[in-house]
Symmetry: C2
Subunit: 194 residues, 2 copies
Amino acid sequence: MSPAATTSVDDARSAVLRTADELFYARGIGGVAMSDIRDASGVSMRRLYTLHPSKRDLVAAWLTDRHVRWMAWFTNAVERHAAGGADPVLATFDAIADWVTTPGYRGCAFINSLAETNELDDAHRSIIAGHKRDLTLHLAVLAARNHPDAPPWLPAALAVVIDGAIVQCTVFGSTVPLDAARSAVRHLLETTPT
Amino acid sequence: MSPAATTSVDDARSAVLRTADELFYARGIGGVAMSDIRDASGVSMRRLYTLHPSKRDLVAAWLTDRHVRWMAWFTNAVERHAAGGADPVLATFDAIADWVTTPGYRGCAFINSLAETNELDDAHRSIIAGHKRDLTLHLAVLAARNHPDAPPWLPAALAVVIDGAIVQCTVFGSTVPLDAARSAVRHLLETTPT
DNA sequence: TTGACGTGAGAACGCTTATTCTCATACACT
DNA sequence: AGTGTATGAGAATAAGCGTTCTCACGTCAA
């Protein structure tokens, strides 16, 4: 019953997603052709379209996959930076610092994709909003756990500051905006009810 | 010596820039064809390419033009909101609030364009960085004038917060992030040396 | 072995687009 | 009026791309 495939469906699926992540992130959605994904992943056109019936579907699958992987990486990196007893809320900036200094860093894939998404791509738009919603939720958990008496606007403000730092570090190719953001948040936490 | 033109060169130039602004902002660079600009501006293909020898040139001209117009609008809006005696630094958030609630708001054209710009478009990249640099500079002037003893990281932090709010208001289609950002900055200004 | 079928490789199709080219026309100057 | 030149309108060109199709091949069941 199982089809005779030179590579298994799961292998092909993960190869496509891995390639999509590399190419879409590095060049943007519009800068990558389906044939590029075929060439870089080794998955044939036929199977590519069997797995993802359109480029739009592939992009949606990529965004969904990247969301879970990025959130896993982020929560893990924050925990690691907070392991020595540092404030986990401030540790988020250390995690982001690791990211923006990575070679090939090109900003937030979700923000970038939103810029390429026109009003018709509701599926993409909701995945992107879901990513930012989940990030804000995670920040709210960190804040509630470590600064239970902080003002109610703190999580949303943290999300704003983090996104702004991600964007500005991309624009300027520098960590100066991130350092300023961290200083501001440290000041915020120090002058706020704990 | 002057050529026989049905419309003057200046009229054509400004019609092209106005149309480019409408279309590029609404649909993104990749979503607009040169023929779309011809159709919407009424400027012929020949003249379009005489004014701007390539789409890349047109995009650069658009970004440059939008930069001066946006900065003029922003400084003016901040002054207007600060006219009643409000803190000009906080008034920047009122100006941004006016903007993000405008129908057709689609985020920051420069951030969006950067997402569509690959590593080869150095001209675009430097215009975009120049825009953010000038914005940060203006914020630094506002801060120095009204909060001379504020910490040195304040202008960069303000720029981060403003960009983050612009992005998040785009993602969520809501002003909640902007309100949280304003609250955070108000708190910052109140707990910082003036 | 045979036949049915799923697959890979990549060509083909149809469409979009950046850019250039053609040609008829209208104005400037004599 | 006549001529040259710049222009507008839009067709032509050439390339890229999303998607589908062809065809030869290898695999599995009988």
